[in-house]
Amino acid sequence: MRKEIKVAESSIETATQGLTAEQVDFFKENGFLGPFDLYSEEEAPLVWSQGMIEMVTSANKPHNSTIINYDRHLDCDALSKHIAHPTIVHKLRSLMGEDIMCWKTHIFEKEPGATGTGWHQVEAFTVFESATVSYPSLRYTEESTAPTQELTVWTAFSNADRDHACLRFLPGSHKQWYYDETKPMSYNVENKSHDFFGYDYAELKLDKDWDPNKHEIVDMELKAGQFVIFLAKCVHGSRPNTSADKRVGMASRYVSPSVRVYEHIDRLSGFGDSISLDKHGCVMVSGEDKYGHNRIYEKNLNGFTFPKVESNGR
């Protein structure tokens, strides 16, 4: 069952505005909100292309992997600007409060013919050090009065409609756990049921009889240059890419600075590769870090100063 979202019309606002009370309520109820305009359809591929050029020319990369494409906002100016774009930050403030820290970005490319990404639900972003030892990427240290302390912004740099592997959400699914993210999964890229980057996320289902495809499903179609905000705890996935074009998106993830990031983790593995977190740091895109839990970068690894949206629209 699919539902057409009617939020888009009211959400296309001027660049510096936050969310309306109606939009905040929609987010609280559904766990996602969008689409919002960020770049024009002509500008989006150029921003992405500039990012690609910088990925190649960067003198100081956050890691050496060409397979694990995390955190290139830490060395590519175009992406450093992107994560702190005022249009994004003002909307995040409406949901998280003034103090907002970007802790991770992740590039999601889907080649023509690529399968969809399976349903999944996370909050602590558990990392497995071995088959039995795991640690949360995020440790929440305090309660907050804001609707959330964790948000993901997924920006389409190419069209991401139903034929081009758009994101999909189960509205309202953030209100309960359907999966146990602390359990390990088996890895097998050849197996079709392993549709979560080589893993079978369905292995983590709390109720083996629960079928996400029988839940209400919303396809979040985005044009190039649009973004959606969501809780990683809202069950989500993507459609397959049945088009002849590559689909390109980037997720930027934000938490309150009260959250401890990668507290016990110094390496990340995945996709057949592994990266060191020696150069990892977080970026304050709004407000202040009053906690000192995490390494904060004010400049990216190549010396570009991260933009920051000042308080009260300054």
Partner: protein, 93 residues
């Protein structure tokens, strides 16, 4: 130089690059897409940067609008022509 000449120039240059792998000159000349050449989109930007070093003495900056053109050989050839045309130093023949 015409488009065919540029295709040959590209083939000759790519044959000198590590990204060209085991491709023969004839395979490169016949190829239609970057994918056929087995070169990733990021590596093709590296090829372009190396071309600029070699033929434009580093005086040309890679433009973002060129990146989507690097997915097919005709597009690559077109970008090489632009580089040669905008090089401050005379392009080597």
């Amino acid at each position: 130089m015409g488009a065919d000449d540029y295709r040959h120039k590209f083939a000759e240059f790519l044959a000198t690059q590590t990204m060209g792998g085991d491709l023969t000159y004839e395979q490169i000349v016949r190829a239609q897409s970057r994918e056929e050449l087995g070169i990733s989109s990021l590596n093709m930007i590296i090829v372009l940067l190396n071309y600029i070093k070699e033929y434009a003495n580093g005086t040309v900056t890679v433009r973002p609008e060129w990146v989507p053109q690097l997915n097919d050989v005709d597009g690559i050839v077109s970008v090489l022509r632009e580089i040669d045309a905008s090089a401050v130093v005379p392009a080597r023949s």
